[in-house]
């Protein structure tokens, strides 16, 4: 019986470190092709669409950028807590809460028609996302309740809150019974950056958030505290760094970033509160943060790649009638192979026959 054995390399192989992500992506696409073939589809045509839709035209590129915006913001919402070993897998729900609050400002307050509609709805979205994330944060900080599970469960509650509003009190009377809120007034629509496309001001906000996150993490005392907690929680305690305060602050900021994503999506793209403001950006955000190896600057590139996957997925929906779920299948495969490749870059895998000693 052949058993696989993992041995640590003396030095991380530079060749393997560089090649690992590329090989992982190739392997994931290969595995995805097998799955598509099993589902009775021609993987080659599917993959041609998957690449040509996002990158084959100016329109494709701009659509890719449109999807990149929420992925950057939610990716940062996962990254920041992860830097201190907290898992925020609730970015999806925080995004939805941001969209709810932005809709409230735009549709239900006089601010929606005022010149300050945009800043008001963005701030409201950030506040709502932060508050939503603070519930699991406070439970974690003061009562040690596992934040992975609570942030995730809060997603379901947030999505039901959206349903409640758009099927109930916020349903547009002029909407012929469809589950939609009333449309945003023109003053509350996020301005476009490039006329004729859907690329909106959110891009500037997302890139500013990346720069701010990188600055805070690498150049400020607070960032230093976060990194010390992440590297060695015990050392942080001896250094007098407050874990409770940092959990609450970092999770609050993370929620605000995801809330900003929701506010900008609902204002710039949907123009009203409805189901499907996000196809699941908050879940893809986990992969974004992981692939970026928790580096804020790398998030831009990774978000662009995974944004392209969403555009390609939309294309597949139209050309081959494939559901958007195919995108998540591919994302899962990419995640698997990247996780495997990371080990293989630092460890060596050896296969051997039955040996006298036990091995694993």
């Amino acid at each position: 019986m052949i058993r696989l054995r993992v041995e640590r390399r003396a030095l991380p192989s530079p060749w393997a470190s560089a090649a690992a992500p590329v090989l992982a992506l190739a392997a994931a696409l290969l595995a995805g092709a097998v799955m598509l073939a099993i589902a009775g589809l021609n993987p080659l045509t599917a993959y041609v669409d998957l690449v040509s839709d996002p990158f084959g035209s100016v329109f494709g590129w701009t659509e890719t950028i449109v999807k990149t915006i929420p992925l950057i913001l939610t990716g940062l919402a996962v990254l920041l807590p992860a830097r201190m070993r907290l898992w925020n897998i609730g970015a999806e729900g925080q995004l939805q809460c941001g969209a709810i609050a932005a809709t409230w400002v735009a549709v239900w307050t006089p601010l929606g028609h005022s010149p300050v509609a945009i800043p008001a709805l963005l701030l409201a979205g950030m506040a709502a996302g932060a508050l939503w994330c603070l519930i699991p944060a406070i439970l974690r900080a003061y009562l040690s309740v596992n934040e992975t599970i609570t942030t995730l469960l809060m997603n379901y509650i947030a999505l039901l809150l959206v349903d409640y509003l758009i099927y109930g009190p916020w349903q547009d009377p002029a909407g012929r019974g469809f589950p939609l809120s009333a449309p945003f007034p023109p003053a509350a629509k996020l301005p476009l950056l490039i006329p004729g496309t859907r690329v909106h001001l959110g891009l500037v906000l997302a890139l500013a958030a990346v720069a701010a996150t990188a600055f805070v993490l690498n150049r400020t005392r607070w960032g230093l505290e976060i990194r010390i907690i992440g590297d060695n929680p015990r050392a942080a305690r001896y250094a007098g760094i407050s874990l409770v305060r940092n959990i609450v602050l970092v999770m609050g900021v993370a929620g605000a970033l995801a809330g900003l994503a929701g506010a900008s999506e609902v204002s710039a793209i949907a123009g009203r509160l409805e189901r499907g403001i996000s196809p699941g950006y908050g879940y893809t955000a986990i992969l974004v943060a992981w692939l970026a190896r928790l580096s804020p600057l790398a998030i831009v590139l990774v978000a662009l790649l995974l944004g392209a996957l969403f555009v390609g997925g939309d294309g597949l929906q139209i050309s081959l009638g494939l559901p958007i779920a195919v995108v998540y299948m591919l994302q899962g495969l990419i995640f698997f192979f990247v996780l495997a490749s990371e080990t293989l870059a630092t460890y060596r895998l050896t296969a051997r026959g039955r040996s006298p000693g036990r091995s694993w």
């Binding site: 799955m35 309740v145 195919v326 994302q331």
Partner: protein
């Protein structure tokens, strides 16, 4: 006891059963030191595999086999990544959930709206005529009865057999277990696979027993609720029953309120199981901290002899 109360209790058992299967499975994985957050994904793939097999063969028991096999196969990806390749267990579990959600929704599209001949309630002779307990526990379908057998079996294996001793040793002190000659990797693979099989069966309970249809994302977070209930259960199969039926009770109550035409909005009622789970998790965390009933010491720590 009123007819209404008995109906709610019976519904609580039914609604709790899929979570009970998944919770028992995750207890095995975590007892061996492997956290698997892929329960939601494994349940979904199990739900689809069981449904498709039942539709194709007309035999729901084959559906259960297929669901267990599908959940088990998916869990082996997690085992390979976390046991052999020592990947981060949270990341790998999330990857599994993302993958399973996407895979089941992609492959299951042709099965939306297709009818299946799933399980039906079959009263157990004799037991079904017991007062209260009869209608609550013994007017259920065969998968519910399977779960009744599974709970004491899981408890017995964990606490009264050599296997159970090895599993707990691997989860608490893998170095010591290794020194005693226990194959740490093999135990962990077996326990993760057990978790996958049970999650798959729990998933298909939803598609061929609780309902007889396939809907995208039909588990609706039950996999995550199972992960939370493992903490509530303090990694004990007997306490898992309490947690699962409490969840089932909340679910049954809100469904009954819906059916009774309450003026409470349906979407707010639908939130109650999630809110309930968070509250339960808070109390469970406080209790485990007070009684020092912690998680297995080596939970989510990769093990290797060389380090």
């Amino acid at each position: 006891m009123s007819v209404f109360t008995i109906a709610v209790l019976a519904a609580a058992v039914r609604a709790g059963t899929p979570v009970l299967f998944a919770t028992l499975g995750e207890i095995f994985a975590e007892r061996a030191g492997i956290l698997n957050l892929g329960v939601e994904g494994m349940m979904l793939v199990g739900a689809l595999a069981g449904f498709v097999t039942t539709v194709r063969t007309g035999n729901p028991w084959l559906g259960v086999l297929a669901a267990g096999a599908a959940g088990g196969a998916l869990s082996l990806i997690h085992a390979l990544l976390c046991v052999t390749l020592r990947a981060n267990q949270v990341a790998s579990g999330l990857a599994l959930t993302i993958f399973g959600t996407g895979l089941s929704a992609s492959l299951g599209r042709g099965y939306i709206g297709v009818p299946a001949a799933g399980f039906h309630p079959t009263p157990l002779p004799g037991l079904a005529r017991l007062p209260v307990l009869g209608p609550v526990l013994f007017h259920q379908d065969p998968l519910v009865y399977l779960s009744y057998l599974l709970v004491p079996a899981a408890w017995f294996v964990l606490y009264r057999t050599r296997w159970g001793l090895e599993i707990r040793a691997v989860g608490e002190q893998p170095e010591a277990a290794d020194a005693m000659g226990v194959d740490v990797a093999r135990v962990r693979y077996a326990c993760v696979a057990t978790g996958g099989v049970l999650a798959g069966i729990g998933g298909t309970f939803l598609s061929i027993a609780y309902t007889s249809m396939w809907i995208e994302n039909m588990t609706a977070g039950r996999g995550w609720i199972a992960v939370a209930l493992v903490i509530f259960a303090t990694w004990d199969p007997l306490r898992a029953v309490v947690g699962a039926y409490l969840f089932g009770g909340v679910n049954a109550l809100q469904l009954n309120l819906q059916a009774a035409g309450t003026r409470l909005p349906i979407y707010l009622l639908l939130m109650t199981p999630y809110v309930f789970t968070i509250i339960v998790l808070v109390f469970a965390t406080r209790e485990t901290a007070r009684k020092r009933l912690g998680a297995p010491a080596a939970l989510s720590v990769p093990y290797s002899r060389t380090g």
